[in-house]
């Protein structure tokens, strides 16, 4: 050993490397180690985002999740009002509930420490009992990792340029495989049934389709809707707006699935065979129905099933009302509607066509002859534009135009059509005019996103080459010397926010006058009722703001008379009319069976 030991001098200095490190002593108060990034600890639920679909509760293999009412959470459209409560004594932290949560509101946190002697205290409502959990979320689902399928099976359609050559149906429908795949995406929560005016049994028939049992699906559908193929093609489908899957993805194609199921029954006879309706023995009571629209047909079908003698009086040559004469055939082919009407007639419903009440038969005759009366008279008249020159030749109501085209009449609209309005009637008139080889422009006073028409219809119209001018207010129809429509003058509008919180209002900009050439102008700004047929009954049956006054059973101010459809409800769609008809049927049955 030498006198100067270099190694022995330097080696102890290596201890300096410990200088910057944390000491291995226990800190006080004790701090728990933070859990791993994807740790699956206690649940956290964002109560505002949660829609109470109950998918977590259904998937839980340990039956640890209950759906319960919480104070202050009411529920409503697209929300059941229930929220999950977890029994942490049963939970095994598999996190399946998180992976199937459609909204992504449910997640697991890094919290994992909880000690208590009271076993009941393990019952928590995530989100309510641990509001601080939001900061500690570690295991959550994204659109990619979720076990839900967020992409809809695409629907095959004829291309835009090809479509305008004919009135062939645009949407081609799902194939069997496509329908099964689409139906399998449904989580069967039933939130959709709440907003459906008719409360159809949506999860049940979709599940039947997913299980490969189309006949059961048809039977379930016919339980409260006798015109389902029509709905499967043209329903306003509010159900899809509240679909749980739509919170992060594309809603289940509920309408197309209904269409798929009902189209498996190709003829009225096959529908009869599948549905195999139980028709009660005739009870000797009779019901007269005015108007063979969706509400009248629905009331007639279910009343006939219950043993009533049902007679419908229809002013037109065909049944279906607005669905027959208002909806273009490329959306709802004649054969499809005819098949459904044939089936309704096949169970014993009598329809007198070309019989206008008030002209061919009086309302009093019907009132006196039948034990009860149902009116599904619709809105046969349209609002006029109320501008100068609107009586020129070539200026017409879009609704009348569709009526004439659908009855097979020829209407000359020239090659430049202007449609005024933004609802489905406006879009329909525009797309029909496109098929008549006209250039079509839609003038709408608000923005495109404010249009009440179905977005698919608006997109379809654009694909077919319909030109939309938003924020345009027509002020004058200009005639030529022969009295024909020559042009339309309109003002541009700016959107002014509504002070009372309503939707923004269009206000015309002075001096922004524009003139657009036209050979025809169609007004599609709304329709109204015509109640002159009631004559002396007009005092007895109350009408308010152009609609019949009814109670929640569709009963008018005359107890014997019921009403439904556009002439009653303000939603003005087929499914609301069907719901009215169904409700009226139950009320009439209740009233007459008591007598």
């Amino acid at each position: 050993m030498s006198f100067f030991d270099l190694k022995g001098t330097l080696k102890p200095l290596t201890a300096l490397k410990q200088f910057g490190k944390e000491p291995h002593t226990i800190t006080y108060p004790k701090v728990s180690k933070e859990a791993a990034d994807r740790y699956r600890g206690f649940h956290y639920n964002d109560l505002d985002e949660c829609i109470g679909c109950g998918n977590c509760s259904t998937i839980c293999q340990n039956a640890a999740i209950d759906m319960i009412h919480l104070e202050g959470i009411e529920g409503g459209k697209g929300d059941s009002g229930l929220r999950p409560r977890v029994d942490h004594g049963r939970c095994c932290w598999c996190a399946l509930c998180v992976e199937v949560c459609p909204t992504g509101s449910l997640s697991l946190t890094k919290d994992y420490l909880y000690v208590s002697e009271d076993p009941d205290s393990f019952l928590w409502t995530p989100g309510k009992d641990n509001p601080g959990g939001k900061e500690k979320i570690s295991f959550f689902s994204t659109e990619e990792t979720s076990l839900n399928v967020f992409q809809r099976v695409p629907m095959t359609e004829i291309e835009g340029t090809e479509r305008i050559k004919s009135f062939a149906e645009v949407v081609l429908g799902y194939s069997e495989d496509e329908a099964r795949a689409e139906a399998s995406r449904c989580i069967s929560c039933g939130l959709c049934t709440e907003v459906c005016p008719d409360h159809m049994h949506i999860p049940e028939y979709i599940n039947a389709i997913a299980n490969g049992n189309d006949a059961d699906a048809v039977r379930i559908i016919y339980d409260n809707n006798p015109l389902p193929e029509m709905c499967g093609k043209v329903c306003t489908r509010r159900c899809e707006d509240v679909c749980a899957i739509a919170t992060r993805g594309e809603a289940i194609a509920i309408r197309w699935l209904k269409r798929y199921a009902t189209e498996t029954a190709k003829t009225a006879d096959i529908i009869h065979e599948i549905v195999n309706p139980e028709i009660k023995e005739a009870n000797g009571k009779t019901v007269g129905i005015i108007g063979a629209g969706p509400s009248g047909l629905t009331a007639a079908y279910y009343l006939a099933l219950r043993g009533y003698g049902v007679t419908i009086y229809e002013a037109s040559a065909k049944a279906g009302g607005a669905t027959m004469y208002g909806i273009p055939k490329y959306r709802l082919p004649l054969e499809s509607l005819q098949k459904q009407v044939d089936y309704i007639q096949s169970i014993g419903v009598k329809i007198h066509f070309n019989t206008k009440v008030g002209k061919d038969i009086t309302f009093k005759e019907i009132y006196d002859h039948y034990d009860a009366v149902f009116m599904g008279v619709g809105f046969p008249d349209a609002w006029s534009l109320g501008v100068d020159g609107e009586n020129a030749k070539g200026s017409m109501q879009a609704y009348r135009y569709l009526y004439m085209i659908n009855s097979g009449e020829k209407v000359d609209v020239g090659d430049k059509v202007i449609v005024v309005g933004g609802g489905n009637v406006a879009i329909d008139a525009a797309r029909v005019s496109r098929r008549m080889n006209a250039e079509v422009t839609i003038l709408y006073r608000r923005r495109v996103e404010d249009m009440p028409a179905d977005w698919e219809e608006i997109e379809g119209a654009e694909a077919e080459g319909v030109h939309i001018i938003p924020q345009a207010i027509p002020i004058k129809v200009i005639e030529d010397e022969k009295g024909n429509v020559k042009a339309v003058e309109y003002l541009m509008a700016e959107m002014v926010p509504d002070e009372r919180g309503g939707r923004p209002k269009p206000v015309a900009i002075e001096g922004s006058n524009t003139i657009i050439e036209a050979t025809a102008v169609m007004a599609a700004i709304g329709q109204m009722g015509d109640y002159s047929f009631m004559s002396e009954f007009e005092d007895k049956i109350k009408i308010n703001r152009g609609r019949f006054v009814t109670n929640d059973k569709q009963q008018t101010t005359d107890p014997k008379v019921f009403a439904g459809g556009d002439a009653v409800n303000s939603t003005a769609d087929a499914i609301s009319a069907i719901a009215d008809g169904f409700r009226a049927c139950k009320a009439i049955d209740e009233m007459l069976s008591k007598k």
């Binding site: 109470g52 679909c53 109950g54 509760s57 259904t58 293999q61 340990n62 039956a63 209950d66 759906m67 319960i68 009412h69 059941s80 009002g81 229930l82 409560r85 029994d87 004594g89 049963r90 076993p119 009941d120 019952l123 989580i187 069967s188 929560c189 039933g190 939130l191 049934t193 709440e194 409360h199 049994h201 999860p203 049940e204 028939y205 599940n207 039947a208 299980n211 059961d216 039977r219 379930i220 339980d223």
Partner: protein, 189 residues
């Protein structure tokens, strides 16, 4: 990397012509499937000759509809930086395989787990019968036909205090007055 993977596949194929290869991954992975008789030889070959020294993971997949179990060995080569998924299938009704723990000792633990959770018998595996489950009498719980929900319902009693739970579908029908026909109820959730 693509070339390297091709090269490795060709080398394996030269010795094991029966394998099916899946090589459509755009990262450092490819899969080979082989019959159960050759699984020992291919794993020995990959480990001792080709340098896939590391066994990253072993898994079992229950192909209930096809009546088979699939065992997947994930092996890794530190030199080539490539991982191979080696797959083999065995009959679900007679799930027997010879033990592989002489290749990687840690397979011993995996095999005990597969035996208990899937009911796969490994001939030559020397280990006590019980692994994680205590006094387990029922069918192997990782099999897909094992009904976890029914097991939980049968095994654990319901604690009081949860009676206020509601069914979502029923709550909605109560609200709307919807009447679901009896024959349709089997399709409800």
């Amino acid at each position: 990397m693509k070339e390297l993977k091709e090269q490795l596949i060709n080398r394996i194929k030269a010795h094991f012509p029966d394998i099916t290869v899946e090589n459509n991954f755009n990262y450092n992975r490819f899969d080979v499937s082989i019959n159960k008789e050759s699984i020992h030889s291919i794993l020995f070959y990959l480990k001792d000759v080709m340098g896939f020294k590391h066994l990253s993971d072993t898994n079992c997949v229950d192909w209930l509809e096809e009546g088979e179990f699939e065992i997947v060995f994930i092996v890794w080569s530190p030199a080539e930086k490539i991982k191979i998924f080696v797959r083999t299938r065995i009959d679900r009704n007679n799930p027997v395989l010879e033990t592989l723990d002489m290749i990687w000792p840690q397979l011993h633990t995996y095999e005990r787990e597969f035996r208990e959770m899937f009911g796969i018998q490994f001939t030559g595996l020397e280990a006590p019968d019980e692994f994680i489950l205590e006094d387990w009498q029922g069918p192997p719980p990782y099999r897909r036909d094992f009904d976890t929900a029914a097991f939980a319902a049968e095994t654990f009693f319901e604690r009081p205090g949860r009676e206020d739970a509601e069914d979502v579908r029923e709550a909605i029908t109560k609200l709307t007055g919807e009447e679901i026909p009896e024959f349709a109820k089997k399709y409800s959730r």
